[in-house]
């Protein structure tokens, strides 16, 4: 079990904080993208061809794509957060064992 510990207490705590922030912020970004918020229009990768033909549906599809990317990234951060949490617990256990 000891070999599962690969980072110190501070790195694990930073990772945990970062993951929590990442989950919350990426989830909210995902929601704002899927509701097609106009403020985020510069973050959506549209090209000149998207404006030909079914322009509105194309744009909405792109918005949704970016939104789904954000949701997947948020899920990945849940995984990283869980990993950091385990590291924090292992570090605490190691600290108690030594003394």
């Amino acid at each position: 079990m000891a070999s599962l510990l690969f980072c110190g207490p501070k790195l694990a705590a930073c990772g945990l904080v970062l993951s929590i922030w990442g989950v919350i912020m990426l989830a909210m970004l995902g929601i704002f993208f899927t509701t097609h918020s106009a403020v985020l229009r510069e973050d959506v990768p549209f090209t000149a061809e998207d404006f030909k033909g079914e322009a509105l549906q194309n744009i909405y599809k792109l918005y949704n794509q970016v939104g789904y990317n954000c949701f997947i990234a948020a899920v990945l951060y849940v995984g990283i957060g869980f990993l950091s949490f385990c590291q924090v617990r292992l570090n605490k256990r190691k600290e108690y064992l030594v003394h």
Binding site: W21, G22, L26, S37, E42, D43, N69, A73, L76
Partner: protein, 716 residues
């Protein structure tokens, strides 16, 4: 008191010994009572005993170790002679021959050999071998390499010569066995001796460790006791001793409301120490200025500290710390203005305040307030990690610019790269401004900065002038308290008139222009209006802001007149003062004349007028820093996070994970820490210089009673 110096010396020696032997020093958990005089003697005797014991142990240890080294040398010497004797041809030695064995440092050996050659002209046999550096040997002696040597020489008085040479080379000589059988006997006896010595050494070390561990349990407690005693004796030394040599008389400063507390503490102390004399507390009049004491709790402590860092307030003058609790975080937030960053800062401050309650960090409430105010100003600027929220629905509608309401067609979009919304086309601007804060449409407008710059500059001037007028009002409070009523008329009123007529008028122009509807192409610039007013330039081709503008500019004249009035009146005031001095007391300075006073007062007036203008301009840093923060925030989003968002392929999520981590780290280091420190510094400067030079004198000294907590904290 010599007593405590000795004790500190002993204690230092004890702690050094503990560090050397790696003993764990236990931290004390409970707060001990203040030590009394009997404890001094008790501690002194304990320390002396401990120190003597330790010194003796160390001496014995050193002696034993030396013995062990010698025995080890003899042991390796014996082994070498064994080898030597086993060589053929060396079994016997004639009685005239002599051989001497010893140990010398390896680096000295060549020189040693040369000297022997010169001495005996080659008539000797010298054998040497390097001593095996066993681990034990290295631990005991160190990493010095030594050689074992054995000399065979013939002759009568050679023993003394060789002894002298060896002394010169610091080689140690040992007696050597002459036959083959002696080495074995000697070897065994040496072995047993070494074993005994090792055991004794171990026992000694164990004993020493035991003594030190027992002392280590108490050493921190003793340390703090000694520090407290030292502080008490130092304070007592500041008192005077009565004529009868039995009483101590002390003159102290004490807050008036705490007089009864001090009295009861004195009585309790005298009861506890069992003295028969009751202490007496009298209030006496003095001409000295008392120290300044502001009662603070954990919340206000930080704010009081940042005021005191500039200057401790003069006795009984108004304390700006209570207002700073609100104005400082607010001015910080105006420069920081981002609700996302403010939220992170607030969460961090909440964590620090809740987790680290034993370590008192004075600044944690300041950071908490700064974060909370930043969330508020972030909502007003509508800026969260450089993006805006559209909570209430924007007041601008782009759709209405198109046919049939407005002039735009489908082709207009393809022809032009930049299009401007026209608020006079019906439906584009709803008529009601956005409910709270800046309209979110500005976030996606390309002329966002022109609008925001104008808004933030005007806001900075308004906030600055209000802050300074508040400072001037506080000076009124000071004058009333110190009963300097002439100063109210001579200093406060002219200052107020000047500021209101000049900058108050400017603020009126700003607010008026914000409230009326103008066409943007023809709107007059306030700056130009102001400059023309100062130059008395009223040409009709300039569009006037309102009808009575000529009348308004006459207020400026009033301001200038007011400023000069200060000069005249203060002049006459000082003249009266000077006459009074000459009548009542000795003349203070024979060279002081009316001309000097006039010049001094004129300089003071000019300084105040120009200072007002420069201080108002100084508040423009509120605009500058908030602009810098907003731009940095936008750059970070665009260059870091947007790169990840714009990747539409499957790898987009992985890149987003990595880039978000980079975005978070950069946000914390650059935007929170660097910009936070910068905004903190500038808000502090605005308080210290622009606000406080209107009323604060800051020439007092702080009330510092003896406090064990602060004593132990500073010395740790």
């Amino acid at each position: 008191m010599l007593v405590s110096l000795e004790i500190i010396h002993h204690l230092g020696y004890l702690e050094k010994e503990m560090v050397k032997s790696n003993t764990v020093i236990a931290a004390t958990k409970e707060k001990e009572m203040v030590p009394c005089a009997r404890d001094v003697l008790e501690l002194e005797s304990t320390f002396e005993k401990l120190e003597q014991e330790l010194r003796e142990i160390n001496r014995n240890h050193a002696a034993l170790r030396q013995n062990l080294i010698e025995l080890m040398d003899i042991d390796s010497l014996l082994r070498m002679t064994e080898d030597f004797f086993e060589e053929p041809g060396n079994q016997r030695c004639s009685p005239n021959e002599l051989f001497i064995a010893g140990v010398i440092k390896q680096e000295r050996f060549p020189a040693f050999e040369k000297v022997l050659w010169r001495l005996f002209h080659g008539n000797f046999v010298l054998r040497h071998a390097e001593m095996q550096a066993t681990e034990e040997l290295q631990a005991v002696r160190g990493a010095v390499k030594k050689d074992v040597f054995i000399i065979f020489v013939q002759g009568d008085h050679v023993r003394e010569k060789i002894r002298k040479v060896c002394e010169g080379f610091r080689a140690s000589l040992y007696s050597c066995p002459k036959t083959l059988y002696e080495p074995k006997q000697m070897s065994t006896s040496v072995m047993t001796q070494m074993e005994d010595l090792r055991m004794i050494l171990r026992r000694t070390e164990e004993y020493r460790a035991g003594v030190l561990t027992r002392a280590a349990e108490h050493v921190q407690e003793w340390g703090s006791k000694v520090k407290k005693m030292k502080a008490i004796y130092y304070t007592l030394n500041l008192c005077n001793i009565d004529i009868t040599q039995k009483l101590i008389v002390a003159e102290i400063w004490c807050p008036v409301s705490d007089l009864t507390l001090v009295q009861s503490a004195l009585i309790k102390g005298s009861e506890q120490s069992g003295s028969s004399v009751t202490p007496v507390l009298n209030r006496i009049q003095t001409q000295q200025t008392p120290p300044t004491f502001n009662r603070t709790n954990t919340f206000t402590e930080g704010f009081q500290a940042i005021i005191d860092a500039y200057g401790v307030g003069t006795y009984q003058e108004i304390n700006p710390a209570s207002y700073t609790i609100v104005t400082f975080p607010f001015l910080f937030a105006v420069m920081f203005g981002d609700c996302g960053h403010g939220l992170v800062m607030t969460l961090f401050a909440v964590w620090v305040t809740s987790q680290l309650t034993d370590v008192v960090i004075g600044g944690r409430y300041i950071i908490l307030l700064m974060g909370m105010f930043s969330i508020y100003t972030g909502l007003i600027y509508n800026d969260c990690f450089s993006k805006s929220f559209n909570i209430f629905g924007s007041s601008w509608c782009v759709l209405s610019m198109f046919h049939p309401h407005g002039p735009w067609q489908n082709e207009t979009l393809h022809e032009y790269h930049h299009l401007q919304l026209n608020p006079f086309v019906p439906g584009v601007y709803s008529g009601d401004p956005y409910v709270f804060g800046i309209d979110p449409v500005w976030n996606i407008a390309s002329n966002k900065l022109s609008f925001l710059n104008s808004f933030k500059m005007k806001m900075s001037v308004i906030l600055g002038v209000s802050h300074m007028l508040f400072g001037v009002a506080l000076s009124l409070v000071n004058f009333v308290h110190f009963r300097k009523f002439q100063d109210i008329f001579l200093q406060f009123v002219p200052q107020l008139i000047f500021m209101l007529s000049l900058f108050g008028y400017l603020i009126f122009l700003i607010l008026y222009k914000w409230c009326i509807t103008l066409r943007s192409e023809t709107a007059p610039s306030i700056l130009l209006l102001f400059i023309n007013m100062m130059l008395f330039d009223y040409q009709s081709e300039h569009v006037l802001l309102y009808r009575g503008q000529v009348v308004g500019s006459s207020l400026v004249l009033a301001g200038i007149v007011g400023g000069w009035s200060e000069c005249k009146f203060t002049l006459s005031h000082l003249q009266n003062h000077d006459c009074a001095l000459q009548q009542k007391w000795l003349p203070t300075a024979p060279g002081v004349s009316m001309g000097d006073i006039f010049v001094y007062q004129a300089i003071h007036t000019i300084e105040f007028c120009l200072g007002c203008i420069s201080n108002t301009a100084s508040y423009l840093r509120l605009w500058a820093l908030s602009l810098a923060h907003a731009e940095l925030s936008e750059v970070l989003w665009r260059m870091v996070l947007q790169v990840g968002l714009k990747i539409s392929s499957g790898m987009g999520s992985l890149m987003l994970v990595v880039l978000f981590a980079a975005f978070a780290v950069l946000t914390v280091t650059v935007l929170l820490i660097m910009e936070g420190l910068s905004a903190f510094l500038h808000a502090l400067r605005l308080h210290w210089v622009e606000f406080q030079n209107k009323f604060y004198e800051g020439s007092g000294y702080k009330f510092t009673p003896l406090s064990f907590d602060s004593l132990l904290k500073t010395q740790q």
